[in-house]
């Protein structure tokens, strides 16, 4: 990896997802659950993928890893580039070479990654040996080194312990050690702190920050928690009903949101310092993939909706196109130029 001489995110992206489309088989035919999603992540940069349940954020991250079960899922379009390599269309064997090596992942539930039947250190050593083809002793040493780096005390001894002998927070650390052992270029993190207690979440976010800075990893952080995004992300992509509705550097996103859905989410958050009489709500519920409204998908719930919002725009045959407002901010709102939306303060 290169030294930290260039500012994060200013060179060519490490991971670039373009116009990704994923469908799921349903009783009523194919439903498009990820509809033209594009985003990129640079070296040492953290990009949040934010949305509520059903927004398509997890399906997007699984698609990047080639981990979507098929059937029922199929990727019907787009491109996922890791540096110069196109990941879509790679054979299973080729993807397995990349997964765990150049692209790694961590999940909400550490036992998704850890096998309960083997000592934690052995599992890290095995992944390292498979990708680096080194000696057993070298791989073992790497496992102990990584467990130490993620803050597991007495790592040489704890490497021989089984996952069930670790606490929840320690398991999360072990999963991070496993993910980072091959020094991946990209780390996909899907709600990695959601199941953790507050004080342990703070530890894990600190650990991810320090790992990112040490290894220059590009992180895609999938979460529903706008507090976590404000804490760890540089930029964020907001998803609604399978589409990106806004993307922006986080200060722009929080203080000058350019999509009414972002505004509504920020406005609905209960505040730790109090002062809210009645909590704001977003009326209605998010649409299901089989029953999407015409035009802007958020318009039936939007406080700023006008009749024109229900009609597709010329640039997008079946909805509203995502439009760049500057070189770093994009919005999918028809009325974006006339609206002054409220941010976090």
């Amino acid at each position: 990896m290169t030294a930290m001489s260039v500012a994060p995110g200013t060179e060519a992206p490490v991971l670039e997802v373009t116009d990704l489309r994923v469908q799921f088989a349903t009783d009523r035919g194919w439903a498009t659950v990820v509809d033209g999603v594009s985003f990129s992540v640079g070296r040492a940069e953290t990009v949040g993928v934010v949305g509520e349940s059903g927004s398509g954020k997890t399906v997007t991250s699984l698609a990047v890893l080639g981990l979507l079960p098929s059937p029922p899922a199929r990727v019907v379009g787009g491109s996922i580039r890791l540096g110069d390599t196109e990941l879509l269309g790679l054979r299973r064997r080729e993807l397995e070479e990349i997964r765990g090596d150049e692209v790694a992942m961590i999940f909400q539930e550490p036992m998704t990654s850890l096998n309960p039947a083997f000592p934690v250190g052995d599992q890290i050593a095995e992944v390292f040996r498979r990708h680096r083809r080194c000696s057993r002793s070298r791989a073992r040493a790497r496992a102990v080194e990584m467990l130490g780096k993620v803050g597991i005390p007495d790592a040489a001894r704890r490497a021989r312990a089984y996952p069930h002998e670790f606490s929840g927070g320690m398991r999360q650390r072990a999963m991070i050690a496993l993910a980072m052992c091959c020094d991946p270029r990209v780390l996909l993190a899907d709600e990695p702190t959601t199941a953790l207690d507050g004080t342990i979440q703070a530890q894990i976010l600190d650990l991810m920050r320090s790992m990112r800075d040490e290894f220059d990893t590009a992180i895609v952080f999938v979460t529903h928690d706008l507090g976590v995004v404000a804490d760890i992300c540089d930029r964020a992509v907001v998803m609604y009903a399978g589409q990106v509705v806004e993307k922006a550097p986080i200060d722009d996103l929080y203080y000058h949101p350019r999509h009414p859905y972002t505004e509504a989410l920020l406005g609905a958050l209960p505040q730790l310092d109090g002062g809210t009489e009645v909590l704001a709500t977003i009326p209605g519920t998010a649409p299901t993939p089989g029953a999407l409204p015409a035009g802007c998908r958020f318009h039936p719930r939007c406080a700023h909706a006008r009749p024109e919002c229900a009609h597709p725009t010329e640039s997008a045959a079946d909805g509203v196109a995502l439009r760049w407002l500057s070189d770093s901010v994009a919005s999918r709102c028809v009325r974006v130029d006339e609206l002054r939306l409220r941010g976090a303060r």
Binding site: P270, Q271, T281
Partner: protein, 344 residues
């Protein structure tokens, strides 16, 4: 703790001990709840916060007599219900209800929701058919659903709607107290707020008291009147919410608040954070003295040896912390007074 009139619910010296299997035959005591004192007034919401394993759910269940406490007394409207049984216990149960994180804990997936809501009425009230039907529709309307939903199954509703149905069932018998155990934790922000607003409206209309168990401190700040903080089975601090959030007196409360990421990037970056080291200790083998001393950034030698006694806090509530009486001697003041000195 303030006691205006007589509290709806009052617990004194509540202890809950589980026998945990260790190996094949050995069973060791796990003190899940230890000498908990709390009271909840009429129409009041007490927030109960703490991390997993702190004993907050066990406390909620023990108050409802769903788990038998080993020691202590529980009074409902001034009447000792600690040893109530039979008809007396059934009468107690109808006055205290519970709403869980997963609505399927109280809704039978194979039963249409009209029947789920009617079930407690059948057990306790035996209304004539027409009155019963009318009451069920009233309850659905209280939670912003309607009579046309009566014959639908739980799976036909969204997560937020299901939680509203569980609430309709919980309030069917006009309870005095509802224990909400992580009742909004699994919901997305937009639906979470609909459920919180509903709970608040029901409280205003019916004067119900809530014990609101949650790990989301921003939600607790919104909904609670007073807050109690639990650590390893003990209440380490209680107080009116504004005092407790703005001027925490216990280092654990301070750390919990500091760990919540604020959805405001510039403020979040500027905050001075306290990241506690290590995990919550094993409840089977709790640390000596103050149980928080192993993770406390301000621990003094006395903290390892002596269990801190409750001290009154300026602005309301109590705290169990040696810093109040020794060392910096906060004498009822907030722990934030010494934060700078210690971390600097």
């Amino acid at each position: 703790m303030t006691t205006e009139q007589s509290p709806v619910l009052e617990a004194r010296g509540l202890d809950v001990t589980f026998r945990v299997r260790r190996g094949l035959v050995r069973r060791v005591p796990l003190r899940a709840v230890r000498s908990v004192d709390l009271s909840i007034g009429a129409g009041e919401t007490l927030g109960l916060v703490g991390e997993s394993g702190s004993g907050k759910s066990t406390t909620g269940r023990a108050l409802l007599r769903l788990i038998e406490p080993e020691r202590g007394t529980i009074r409902l409207d001034g009447v000792d219900i600690t040893n109530a049984s039979g008809a007396e216990l059934r009468a107690v149960r109808r006055r205290m209800q519970m709403v869980f994180q997963d609505p399927y804990s109280s809704l039978d997936p194979s039963m249409v929701i009209g029947e789920s809501i009617g079930e407690p009425l059948d057990v306790h009230e035996r209304l004539p058919a027409a009155r019963r039907q009318q009451r069920i529709i009233e309850l659905l309307e209280h939670v912003r659903l309607s009579g046309r939903h009566l014959d639908r199954y739980p799976y036909e509703f969204s997560g937020g709607q299901r939680q509203r149905i569980a609430i309709a069932r919980a309030i069917a018998l006009n309870p005095r107290l509802v224990v909400c155990d992580e009742a909004v934790s699994a919901l997305d922000v937009s639906t979470q707020n609909q459920v919180i607003n509903l709970l608040e409206r029901i409280q205003r209309e019916f004067g119900i008291s809530y014990l609101f168990i949650a790990h989301d401190l921003a939600v607790v700040r919104h909904i609670a009147d007073r807050v109690a903080v639990m650590y390893l089975g003990e209440l380490v601090e209680t107080g009116p919410k504004d005092r407790l959030f703005d001027r925490p007196a216990h280092p654990y409360t301070e750390a919990l608040l500091s760990a919540v990421p604020i959805p405001d990037p510039q403020r979040q970056r500027a905050r001075e954070r306290i990241v506690l080291q290590g995990d919550v200790p094993d409840a089977l083998n709790p640390p000596s003295g103050c149980t928080f001393h192993t993770r406390c950034p301000y621990a003094m030698p006395v903290c390892r040896e002596v269990v801190p006694e409750p001290t009154e806090v300026t602005g309301g509530g109590m705290v169990r912390c040696h810093l109040q009486t020794e060392g910096p001697t906060l004498a009822g003041g907030p722990v934030t007074e010494i934060s700078g000195r210690v971390s600097g």
